[in-house]
């Protein structure tokens, strides 16, 4: 303490606190500058120049936006992968968020064996290892005699009906006058249910935590005022967990982005085809798209968010 006093002589307390604070944060500042800021700058440099590899090194020559034009007009798969990934993200966000909110509300009720249920619902996070997926995919491909995983996926989706005639229900819903777009979405959601369940482990935990932190007195008040459970949900539960909608949305988007095909393509382009510039363009473009999605959906969700304090 005395040492600190001597060193800090002539400084105001707030000044000294500021310096201590900066010291605490300094590893992050340093890491951000060295690894993130610099790398982002380098990625942009790669994207706007032509890279040629010579021996162990490489040279860059500035070409402007040529690579972007090339990626969008010449590359055979990039457009398709980008659009696919964006669509699947946009479809997944509401599905995963509503599913996990629903499950969290259910797990928050008091019933026998809920600790076990919670443990099971978090399991997918443990099992979400790319290595395991890779191994299973390879096994499936080998069994089908080919090396491409595509037939496996087709076989699976064909078999998922499991004896239930889906056509009947589709016809039923169409007769009810559901628009085709809504029908497609519902069918897609049903087909993705397995994926949705495995992707929402962390989100369920986050919503559960939020639900636990709602003070019981709010529910008491609602009950005394004569609110029905439906009203209680919309007036108490939903506003109180709404700040976490944004957190979960960000987490969902990033999680599905990391597993998307467009990033796989970027990785392959960089390290298999050794086309650094094109790969950099891919990752930059997809990053901008993800930030756009985050911005738009964050803006949309923030209309429903209620901040308690």
């Amino acid at each position: 303490m005395t040492v600190a006093k001597k060193r800090g002589k002539g400084m105001t307390l707030s000044r000294r606190r500021a310096i201590t604070g900066l010291l605490f944060v300094s590893p992050f500042i340093f890491g951000f500058l060295v690894f993130y800021a610099r790398s982002l700058y380098e990625t942009i440099l790669f994207a706007v120049s032509e890279t040629s590899i010579e021996g162990l090194g490489y040279t860059r020559s500035f070409t402007g936006l040529d690579n972007f034009v090339k990626a969008f007009t010449e590359h055979p798969r990039f457009n398709q992968f980008l659009v696919d990934s964006i669509i699947s993200m946009v479809v997944d966000i509401p599905l995963i968020i509503f599913f996990s909110l629903f499950i969290a509300i259910m797990l928050n009720q008091k019933f026998k064996g809920r600790t076990v249920a919670r443990a099971i619902f978090f399991m997918p996070v443990l099992l979400n290892a790319p290595a395991i997926f890779g191994a299973l995919e390879m096994v499936r491909a080998m069994m089908l005699g080919g090396t491409s995983p595509a037939p496996a996926a087709m076989l699976e989706s064909a078999g998922s009906g499991g004896g239930v005639s889906i056509g009947y229900y589709v016809g039923l819903m169409r007769d009810l006058g559901l628009p085709n777009a809504a029908l497609d979405y519902i069918l897609g959601a049903v087909a993705r249910i397995n994926y949705v369940i495995t992707m929402s482990g962390v989100q369920i935990i986050i919503f559960l935590a939020a639900l636990q932190s709602i003070s019981p007195s709010l529910y008491e008040v609602a009950k005394i005022e004569g609110a029905t459970p439906y009203e209680t949900f919309w007036k108490v539960t939903f506003p109180m967990v709404s700040p976490l909608l944004v957190t979960n949305m960000v987490y969902t988007v990033l999680d599905s982005f990391v597993n998307s095909r467009v990033l796989q393509e970027a990785y392959d382009t960089m390290f298999r085809e050794l086309n650094y510039s094109l790969g950099a363009v891919f990752s930059l473009v997809s990053m901008v798209c993800v930030c756009g999605i985050l911005g738009i959906s964050g803006w949309l969700i923030s209309k429903f968010v209620y901040y308690h304090n």
Partner: protein, 327 residues
């Protein structure tokens, strides 16, 4: 007709009967609710655990069982051969030990650094604080895939501040070593460090200031307060970050591939090459049989995480609830 109406009126005015009726309805509603909940939970648990169970069960199948049409789920001649060969082929115990040492040390560094940075953001006022916290958000939002190429280059020709070239030495090649991972984690730029910093910041913000003030009044320095007062109070979020960090680091294949880490350290890489080495060395080319070995490998791979999770599970879920993920 008249008598029926009378009876109905009598029923409607009898409060005891009315209460009985209401109780019945309520009981039935709650019964339906639990039934619905049970169905849903069992169904979803099946979706989650079903594949795992299938993999676990078939990893005990012997060759005859695999091809016998009557065997379903339970093996007739269970065998441990799959595990025996897989363990030697993956060099399981030594690689597992290496990997546990690796991810545990990373987790410890992760917690030390991220909690420190989080504390700094939560409790101190300094210039550019808002901007720096925005940088934390940027780190969370930017996927590490975007910066993978420069990272690769940085560690391929590692030359901190051009010092090596200044003294005429060649830049170092740090790929295939564990140094890049340790270096990034130490500087708060490791696997999902941004998220952990965010969790810790939110948690420290939620702690009452009085604890710290009491420590200051009693003459504790900043560092002493942080280590002896704040860290013990942050146990829930430390537990949360520990589990997340262990699991994600364990499952991570992205950095392992990017930095080309040796498969003496990374079990996932062993699992990925298991099938080809079975075919190449042991001449097990029947895909149906070699799948069983891969299943055994998968079980071996997730076993440690499941054990850790089962031990920490109850505390973990309680911990998350108080950990400051909730802003």
């Amino acid at each position: 007709m008249e008598s029926l109406k009378q009876k109905l009126r009598a029923f409607n005015t009898d409060t005891r009967l009315q209460n009985e009726k209401r109780r019945m309805i309520r009981w039935f509603a709650s019964f339906l609710m639990s039934l619905f909940r049970l169905t849903l939970i069992v169904g979803i648990s099946y979706v989650i655990l079903g594949p795992l169970l299938g993999i676990a069960v078939s990893s005990f199948f012997s060759n005859e069982d695999r091809y016998s049409p009557v065997v379903y789920m339970i093996a007739q001649n269970p065998t441990l051969d799959r595990y025996r060969l897989t363990i030697t082929e993956m060099n399981y115990f030594s690689v597992m030990w290496n990997m546990l040492v690796y991810i545990c040390s990373l987790t410890v560094i992760q917690i030390a650094v991220c909690s420190m940075v989080g504390y700094g953001f939560a409790r101190f006022q300094f210039p550019l604080k808002k901007l720096l916290f925005a940088c934390v958000i940027i780190v969370i939002v930017i996927p590490s895939h975007t910066i993978m190429l420069p990272l690769y280059m940085t560690f391929r020709h590692f030359d901190p501040f051009w010092l090596f070239s200044l003294f005429g030495a060649e830049p170092m090649n740090l790929l295939t070593t564990l140094t890049p991972m340790y270096m990034m984690t130490l500087l708060g730029a490791g696997l999902r460090s941004g998220l952990y910093i965010y969790i810790f910041t939110q948690f420290f913000r939620g702690l009452p200031k009085e604890i710290e003030e009491a420590a200051f009044v009693d003459g504790a320095g900043t560092m002493y307060t942080y280590v002896r007062v704040m860290i013990p109070n942050a146990m829930p979020s430390i537990l949360t970050v520990t589990i997340f960090s262990l699991v994600w680091q364990y499952n991570d294949l992205f950095y392992a591939n990017l930095f080309n880490l040796s498969n003496d350290w990374i079990l996932s890489k062993r699992l990925n090459s298991l099938q080809s080495s079975l075919a190449g060395i042991h001449r097990i080319t029947d895909p149906a049989i070699s799948a069983l070995y891969v299943y055994a490998g998968i079980i071996l791979m997730i076993l440690p995480m499941i054990l850790i999770y089962v031990f920490l599970q109850r505390k973990f879920i309680e911990g998350v609830e108080r950990s400051g993920i909730v802003g």
